[in-house]
Symmetry: C2
Subunit: 203 residues, 2 copies
DNA sequence: CCAGTATTTGAATCTTTCTTCAATTCGATG
DNA sequence: CATCGAATTGAAGAAAGATTCAAATACTGG
């Protein structure tokens, strides 16, 4: 058993444990005992903090998304060159490898969102926030004359996020030839075309 | 109860029933009784035909994918203008609406593929086949001088399929502004840029 | 129309998971 | 350092799901 903790601390632990359990068994497939095991506790203890497993799972997904998004924002801190920002952001939207826990958790939601309103809202909101992130980079670059946008920045941003999403799925499904580097290159090729910027590539 | 049927017929029914059950409860969340109910049978009867529920679910997903792909191929039959083919194919890769059963079934797999090799292979194979489909259209159009490709046709095709995938998820998650038409327009804008063809748009 | 076989049911059983709660333990507080 | 309250266990009971199988039923070929 893990040592006794305060309500607040334990809830954080449980959210973390639920995340691991979801990755192992899927959002639909998680059982109380899976979470309890991951947390090193009894199912009763889990229930003491979260009488409803469903709510814990929602919190776990929510926390995972926040973390994913915040990490992306953090990667941008300190950068000022729009081209560099764009390249960094494209990379930060892709999984590091097939087992990347952040992206795998997000991918779990794809199917569930069609059945569950709460998950749908979470996922949709995340999408829109990511779009706004790209849009801000593109608009700044455009204003500075670094980018010559081939269309509406909103449209381009949506496509960029969409591409990230989709390649994230390919990578976690272990596509034999599309890994993190290849996916980044695919997205960058789009980004180069629509920004008119070589984005760090020689030539 | 549904009337008695031959082994082969019943298996087809069960695959269909399993598909509906998956849409209702998720691939991880389906239980024997869900499938039995959808089929109008007893759990025992289901087990008689599929002693292992997991295998039935795999067959259901497999059948769903084949059907999805075949439908796309069929939509192309009779068309010869590459531009028209491209437009039609972009539409056939998107859900008709948030409840489109074909796309929803595919979306179910996104998360599962990271955990299950069989699902990963199915999904990856489908992706590659769809890429080949686009590539054939693009190459033909290029050979005929209808398209002026802004890059490798393989790369462009991958991005097209990726965009479809991702917008399929958005639509089934009921994104408030991205519906089938908007998604098609987003993908078409990319397609126009990389083919140098207006793709049916005036102007 | 009969016999033989394949399909399906229904009920019993077994297993897994959920839920409840009295008893215990730990840690904070005065 | 004794007390109190919060956190946790463990065991028991209920619920849900899976599995088995003998009996019933409907189809098929002759």
């Amino acid at each position: 058993m893990s040592s006794r903790k305060s309500r607040a601390d334990r809830r954080v632990d449980l959210i973390e444990a639920a995340r691991r359990a979801i990755l192992r068994h899927g959002t639909q497939g998680v059982h109380l005992n899976h979470v309890a095991e991951e947390a090193g506790l009894t199912s009763g203890a889990v229930l003491y903090h979260y009488p409803d497993l469903g709510e814990l799972l929602v919190e776990a997904h929510h926390a995972g998304m926040e973390q994913f998004y915040e990490l992306r924002v953090k990667r941008l801190a300190g950068l000022s060159d729009p081209a560099e920002k764009l390249v960094v952001t494209i990379h930060s939207g892709l999984p590091v490898g097939p087992d990347d826990p952040g992206v795998r958790l997000l991918n779990e939601l794809g199917g569930a969102a069609a059945r569950n309103r709460v998950y749908a809202v979470l996922l949709t909101t995340l999408f829109d926030r990511q779009v706004a992130m790209y849009q801000s980079i593109l608009d700044t670059g455009s204003a500075l004359g670094v980018f010559t946008l081939a269309g509406d920045s909103l449209l381009i941003s949506r496509n960029l996020v969409a591409l990230e999403d989709a390649y994230g799925y390919r990578i976690t499904a272990r596509h034999p030839v599309i890994g993190p580097d290849q996916a980044a290159e695919l997205i960058l090729s789009y980004a180069r075309t629509v920004t008119g910027n070589t984005l760090g590539a020689a030539g």
